[in-house]
Amino acid sequence: MTATQVAVPARRGHTPGRLIAAEIMKIRTTNTWWLLTLGIVLFTALALTVNGFGHHFELYPPLDQVGEANRQDAVTQAAIAHSAAGLRGIAADMLTSGQFFGCLLAMLIGILVITNEYFHQTATATFMTNPHRTAVIMAKLVAAATFGALFWVVSTIMNVVTTPIYLHTQHVDVSLTQWPVVRSVLLNLLAFVMWAVFGLGLGTLIRSQIGSVVTGMVVYLIGLAAVTIIFHLIYNAYPHSWVLAAQVISPAVASQVMINPGRAFDHAPPQWVGLLVMIGYTVVFGGLGVWLTRRRDIS
């Protein structure tokens, strides 16, 4: 092969490392990453505020405003909230604040990592530089997952700083280092990463940038509500608890179930079921992305 004519110094680094570095550089050299990071900061702040007020009223229901009939219920709820399990749940919820929109933004970066190549017609240059498409998609997957993880870091730093202060103001004492709480925070990382990969798979499936962003949003936002409504309708006609548990097949529901140390909703399946469903979606969509990119023409 030709070696004599090349004045350029010998190749540096191994291929996967080079490709991942190039993909991360692609994200870093546009506005996208900091706009999305700004979104993470804003949504986490919003979520902390909403969750903070929510848990305050859970711990200290305004009994004088609750009707006579509901007073006993409210007292019971407050007692549950003050129990070890209740406080654990509150701590985990506060420490994973911002997950809902954070994962949405992680999905967006996954979508953009691939659809930008088609939208800006850079796929040609990318696949000419490295014609091994599986390697390129895997590099994109790592880059998207890395930014998903970075979003989690930003969100979690805000939560870790705020939550102890908040819990102190609520006069409750709960260890933030107990395993169920830490596990939720770590599973939250997994959720961010998986949504980023899910987005990448979606982007390869629907190469139109607008098409995949809209589809992703619909699956994420409307899908959650639609699934809840549909499964409750089925449950009304066919009242078995597993019908409600089956909502976990929706990716948005699965990631909620996954990070919630208690039950995300009535009859929700255990955390590991949510985790398995998320892994399933990640593998299916990631694999689909690789497969489609390998066989499609770039034109």
Partner: protein, 302 residues
């Protein structure tokens, strides 16, 4: 082997209803600029994309130095390609666009600055791509193709969007490249440009090879259909002397325009008949006429 030879052999691409490229075979040699010509929709771009492993052929092969593009190690060190004028992220600077390619190919980032200098884009290096004119975008594309110091350059309509000065600059660049013994394959529908730039021509129409050879060979191949203008004081006698084989019409200034017979035969006939000939001019067809002749009726929309 590293002569940068491109061999296209039986290359075929069938889309749902059309055979975009149909059993195409040709060879491109190193050290020469080869013009890849054809009417719009002839399959030029599809062929180049198959050569660069962007489109999968239905049948046939395209190799560079005997190796498929996908099997080249670090292909951009062997082959530089320019396929789209506007091929960079709008919000990214030209320098970063090139640096990303360097990074992916394991080439030092400083090479980005070198090629920017080479194409004259250094002053705009840190401007975002969306602010680039069409000509600047084309130059950035050429810079990207040169990053790996490739032995082979493949360009799809590179003159699009360039001003006359830009076209001249690119022509000099490509000629210098071929002069170094490298291979330059450049597609175009601009015949006049190819006449100045190319050494060899590959002409396709409707996905099939029409002709291939040096520019002179291709022009000569239909030169027999050329016309000869004859000035003589006795047109009637000469017309009679030429006989059946020639088709003679009246030209301007009383000249005769002869087709179907070459100049030597006309001269011999005049001498034999004792007719004086004051001027005998063969009008060689230019490339454009040859091209139109060769691709006649094949440019229909398919």
């Amino acid at each position: 082997m590293s002569d940068g030879r491109i061999v296209v052999d039986g290359l075929t691409k069938v889309y749902k209803t059309v055979r975009a490229v149909d059993g195409l075979s040709f060879v491109v040699e190193g050290g020469r600029v080869t013009g890849f010509l054809g009417p719009n929709g002839a399959g030029k771009t599809t062929t180049l994309r198959m050569l660069l492993n962007l489109v999968t052929p239905t049948a046939g092969t395209a190799t560079i130095d005997g190796v498929r593009y996908a099997d080249l190690h670090d292909p951009i060190r062997h082959v530089g390609g320019i396929l789209e004028a506007s091929a960079a992220h709008r919000g990214r600077t030209g320098r970063n666009h090139l640096r990303i390619i360097c990074r992916a190919a394991g080439i030092p980032m400083s090479r980005a600055d070198e090629v920017l200098e080479l194409v004259g884009l250094t002053p705009a290096a840190d401007r975002k791509f969306k602010g680039y004119s069409l000509g600047m975008r084309q130059r950035l594309g050429i810079a990207a193709a040169l990053i790996g110091e490739p032995r082979v350059l493949v360009l799809d309509e590179p003159a699009n969007g360039l001003d006359p000065e830009g076209i001249r600059w690119m022509r000099d660049l490509l000629k210098a490249y071929a002069g170094d013994g490298r291979t330059v394959l450049v597609s175009s529908h601009l015949l006049s440009e190819m006449e100045i730039l190319a050494d060899d021509l590959v002409i396709i129409a409707a996905g099939q090879l029409v002709t291939q050879g040096s520019v002179a060979e291709v022009v000569d191949s239909i030169a027999t259909t050329g016309r000869t203008t004859v000035r003589t004081p006795d047109p009637a006698k000469l017309t009679a002397a030429l006989g059946e084989g020639a088709h003679v019409t009246a030209g301007a200034n009383g000249d005769l325009v002869v087709t179907g017979m070459d100049a030597a035969t006309i001269g011999d006939a005049a001498l034999a008949a004792g007719v004086a000939v004051h001027q005998l001019v063969t009008e060689r067809p230019d490339l454009e006429e040859v091209f139109l002749e060769l691709t006649k009726g094949k440019a229909a929309i398919r």
